[in-house]
Amino acid sequence: MTRPTTLVEKIWAAHAVAELGDDTTLLLIDRIFLHERTGGRMLQGVADAGRQVFDSATVLGTLDHIIDTDVGRTDETKFPGGAEFIQTFRDGAEAAGIPIFDIGDPRQGIVHVIAPELGVAQPGLTLVCGDSHTGTMGGMGALAWGIGVTQGEHALSTQCLPAKWPKQMRVRFEGQLGPAVTAKDLILHLIRLHGATGGENSALEFAGEAVRGLSCAARMTLCNMAVEFGAWTGIVAPDETTFEFLRGRPFAPHGADWDAAVAWWRTLRSDADAVFDREIVIDASAIEPQVTWGTSSDQSIGVGEAPPSPAAIADPVARASAEKALAYTDVTPGLPILGLPIEAAFIGSCTNSRIEDLRAAAAILRGRMVADGVLAICVPGSSAVKRQAEAEGLDTVFRDAGFEWRESGCSLCFYNGGDSFRGARRVITSTNRNFENRQGPGVRSHLASPLTVAASAIAGAIADPRDYGAL
């Protein structure tokens, strides 16, 4: 009888090229995704070292990080220097024979949105990208993680990366989700309970009844923020939901390949008696819509609660950090967060910009108007999401409500010196990071689900989506 193993252990074993000692394995990398922010730098690094891309058939690229999201965009970005990044990336990709989804390509979009949409991200694949939210692909059952430029050069040059055997953690969300509670609320709640380092650099498997019931898109939202929990990556065991999602997508296996792939994918699950270094069980039915109040992902509360007082924190560094966060966000401990006026609302990013995110937000916005003085922006996660939304008339719902309707890209998830919220200071946002200055100098970011963002845009203040009929 073989030893019971975890999902991650099974994928790991299928990719172990060599043991390097010190619990470190040289892992085969199945797919590498590049983007214009670091892709050109990586390819230049490979070439400068006199090396070649090991297998360009495993590499794809997209433009998402730097390009504008305005209609009619060109290489001349609002971000100073963008044209250099774009051209270096194109030149490097062309020289190496790597296809890229450029401006105007119908497949263009945020890397972590298009990888599953095109069927590139599949169960059991190892996939890396020069972006910290690459773990998003764990929602498809892939073992995916973010890397820097040097490790990008490593993966491109060798088709491998050394990786240290991670702690095995499992978080089970049991029970049924309440109305207007989404995967975003689950992950924010988890981080709040266990801290921004609670993930302990682990490979974190999300499981439980509530997770099994989530769509692939929602599982991706969950895994997207595993890195904000301090996990190495997040993953959900693939199941019929995953297979149905992938079937027929352009880069998914076809014919006999499909049958063989599904047969292997069905084995990718943790054995019933697999041992985890840590297991957390959470009653998902007790979670309400969440919103962050500070500048770290763990500084989150239910929409019906008030930010806590730092005075209760014994540890001096942790207390100073909470005080610094409160000074930056200018919220008052003890006062309800509900009703805090906002000046902008943003729906987009690799966390929450997929078609079902837009459908859910539109259901709240339909027939309503964004509050006076609130700048509201929707940036679909991919060109395909945008086309689908337009086919369903969602763009009209967003526009009629007073939202700007943009081209796809990373956009205002981060401020790069170009595009901005035009002076708005307090933003409710469906993105993943509420760091100081992340979305602009002095901008205070409150992370929430697209439902909560839509409800708040209408109210002109942080609002509870359940008060707007959200299901």
Partner: protein
Amino acid sequence: MEPFTRVEGVAAPMPIDNVDTDAIIPSKETTSVARTGYGEKLFANWRYLPGARTPDPAFVLNRPPFTDAKILVAGRNFGCGSSREAAVWSLQQFGIRCVIAESYGQIFRNNCIRNGLLPVTLPIDAVQSLLDQLQGTSEPLMAVDLDAQVLTSPTGETLRFEIGPLERDMLLAGADEIGLTLARRDQIEAFRAHDRARRPWVYSGNSN
């Protein structure tokens, strides 16, 4: 990569948790594909007054002797957030050779090792003690010796720190990790040939 063996000099205290890579190097500062020119951009949002390149006298790295800091001591989860390697380049190009913290954002830490910046991990009590010592002295000097895995605090106390042998050796040698992996090319190709028979769809999927 430049080898790391030992560093001795001014250590700057940054007594907060979750110093993210957006704070270390704001996205708006990475305006070129190049790996250089990042020293003056380190902590730009904290280091300069809004709207200009006027140093904020309240920020630690603007106050002598910390303007010459070679070591940075912070709280928990240093370098969390974005994978941007420019966070490491900006610390190095400012002059920081070693960071000491209770924990790190993992991608940042991986990037450090591959650039010859030593990330020392210590229990929070030890970090807190170093922060207290640095904030209570006019001579905030420390030494960090990777070969011996020992650091010397401002008061002269010595502390052992742990680091994995692979990472330690790579830093000490200034090793070219990519070259080491490429030396296994035959092994990698043999593995892929075997894998292709086992998972054929992985090798045809991207040709669509």
